[in-house]
């Protein structure tokens, strides 16, 4: 279509365009096969895969809020064995890098899953979910620089794949965590995970979520996410995958201007599973219209008002 260079690089991972999916918002790639040919994506980031199978939280798991949703899925997934046996083979059928999201309750858990993924060649990069706010103790690693660094370091030892540390916005200063992860050997950062919150049904006088608290995502959080990206961009040298409320191509461009090398469509997939394709095309069109021969020129290109 055009001569714009759309390729970006996340550590040693080469993406054909800057667009991936938010973990947990795009399943394992097969659900929407009628709608999204995986080999058009820059990368596919799949749902969290834990050491053991997890049943997840009871419903109600998702509720709508103003321009957003709250979720408390509780990391329902089949575990690493299931991923390797039933998900990876399908994903490997496409010419599309796979980023596997890995949560864990301690550094060993993270390292175990990453080691299995590495050995099986079942991922092209791993994203450490330091920050899932819905599981007990799940938050700790993302809120303390030392703890976050300990996970990154443990994983760093067992893989040569790019290691992406996914950061939580639920901290006083995200830059401190970002720096700690970079120093511990992370190849990239991704942000933001969801913002903790809750919702109440005033008629029933009950919490709306079975889990009481959930993670806020969608357009409502975009201002929070953009600032997180901008602050980290000015703090670390490693690339950033930006996400939080992307609902159209211009949203994605805001993230790149703020300093993101790549972006992820998350909650937006629920509204329109083809959103990532639209965003890819929209970014390319923006580059053409604004005279950018290389999409990388957008990264961090925002200036003062």
């Amino acid at each position: 279509m055009s001569t714009v260079n759309m390729t970006v690089q996340i550590g040693s991972l080469k993406m054909r365009n800057p667009v991936t999916t938010g973990s947990g918002t795009f399943g394992f790639g097969s659900e929407t096969k009628d709608l999204v040919p995986l080999d058009r994506l820059g990368a596919v980031t799949v749902k969290a895969t834990t050491r053991e199978r997890r049943l997840g939280n009871p419903p109600q798991r998702i509720v709508e809020t103003a321009s957003g949703i709250l979720n408390a899925i509780g990391l329902q997934n089949g575990g690493i064995d299931d991923y390797l046996a039933n998900k990876a083979p399908y994903l490997r059928g496409f010419d599309c890098p796979i980023i596997v999201n890995v949560p864990g309750e301690n550094p060993n858990d993270f390292a175990y899953v990453v080691e299995r993924l590495t050995a099986a060649g079942a991922a092209d990069a791993v994203e450490l979910n330091l920050s899932c706010p819905n599981v007990s103790h799940g938050l700790d690693y993302a809120t303390d620089p030392q703890l976050a660094a300990s996970v990154v370091a443990a994983v760093r030892k067992v893989t040569s794949m790019p290691v992406i540390a996914k950061l939580s916005p639920n901290v006083t200063d995200i830059r401190v965590i970002a720096k700690a992860c970079e120093d511990a050997g992370a190849d990239a950062l991704s942000m933001i995970n969801t913002v903790v919150g809750t919702a109440i049904d005033p008629r029933k006088r009950k919490f709306r979520l079975a889990n009481i608290t959930g993670g806020l995502s969608g357009p409502a959080v975009k201002p929070i996410a953009l600032l997180a990206v901008w602050r980290c961009y000015n703090t670390v040298k490693i690339p950033i995958i930006g996400m939080g409320g992307i609902a159209c191509p211009l949203d994605a461009i805001e993230f790149m201007l703020a300093g993101a090398t790549a972006v992820a469509c998350g909650t937006g997939n629920f509204v329109d599973p083809t959103l990532s394709l639209e965003v890819i095309d929209g970014i390319e069109k923006y580059c053409v219209e604004n005279g950018f021969a290389d999409v990388n020129a957008l990264i961090g290109a925002v200036t003062a008002a």
Binding site: F26, E31, D34, L35, L55, P58, N86, V271
Partner: protein, 284 residues
């Protein structure tokens, strides 16, 4: 039971006590609105749209997801396929006005475009009737539209099949129109909580006398109703298929937010592992 937790990788066709696994090819379309017709029940409408794709791929139990609200509620909303006209390339949904999406739908005009995703649903009703079976369909609320489609499909494929539809509502004027069912030779029994039409009582009161070993029950509607119908059927050793209409944020299996608990302890995604389940599998 097969675990479909993470989505199917090929299309399959599989039958299990009348439940069919059938994923239509999902498309996102800007369909054209043909008509939006008010029903006699207050705030109820039938919306008909042009979609050759949906008309040829939608089976009873499938649903579509509509994005009609441009406001601050961001999710699509699911609606069961109500009638299908493959020749005209049209499908209809029947809805009552509740929140922003249904309000916007009620205001659409012929020629407007409606953003739909579908057909959705993995396990659906099996429309092929087994000989000698008495098909009893029990519905209430927005469970009626899919059962209507199912009843007509059974009738069309087996004109001799015994088909009874039991429809419950709080009061007479909330019973949604199904004259076409009577026209199709389906027996229709109404039940109202206040006795203002048909049987004075619950759908289970009408169901009980009909339950025989040759019955098969299909139900869709409010959860307490489906639970009661499912348990009653099970107590009489009758197969019962329930279509679970939970809150469905994405409709395509990627959010895992629509789950219900199964008796084996697993949380199942109603959008793609359902919406139709054997009643005996659900941990009510």
């Amino acid at each position: 039971m097969i675990n479909f937790l993470h989505g199917m990788q090929t299309y399959e066709l599989f039958r299990f006590v009348g439940i069919r696994i059938y994923f239509g090819v999902i498309k996102k379309e800007a369909a054209q609105v043909v008509s939006v017709t008010p029903l006699s029940a207050p705030r109820h409408f039938v919306l008909t749209m042009k979609s050759a794709h949906l008309a040829s791929h939608s089976r009873p139990g499938h649903f579509i997801a509509v994005a009609a609200d441009t406001g601050s509620a961001i999710l699509r909303k699911p609606f069961s396929v109500y009638t299908v006209n493959p020749d005209a390339g049209e499908i209809s949904i029947l809805f009552s006005v509740y929140g922003p999406t249904t309000t916007a739908m009620s205001r659409m005009l012929p020629g407007d475009s409606i953003d739909v995703l579908g057909p959705l649903g993995g396990r659906i009703f099996d429309p092929e009737p087994i000989k000698g079976i008495h098909h009893i369909l029990v519905g209430g609320g927005y469970g009626v539209p899919p059962l209507n489609y199912l009843a007509k499909t059974i009738r069309a494929s087996a004109p001799d099949a015994m088909v009874t539809v039991i429809i419950g509502a709080r009061t007479a004027n909330l019973l949604v129109g199904d004259d076409d069912l009577l026209d199709a030779g389906v027996e229709v029994i109404y039940c109202t909580d206040d006795g203002s039409a048909g049987v004075h009582g619950r759908v289970t009161d009408a169901l009980l006398p009909l339950l025989k070993s040759d019955s098969r029950v299909y139900t869709c509607g409010p959860t307490p109703m489906m639970k009661a119908v499912g348990e009653l059927s099970e107590a009489h050793g009758v197969d019962c298929q329930v279509s679970l209409e939970t809150f469905m944020p994405c409709g395509v299996g990627i959010c895992v937010g629509c789950v219900v608990k199964m008796r084996d302890g697993v949380f199942s995604r109603t959008c793609t592992d359902g919406p139709v389940y054997p009643g005996c599998e659900v941990a009510w």
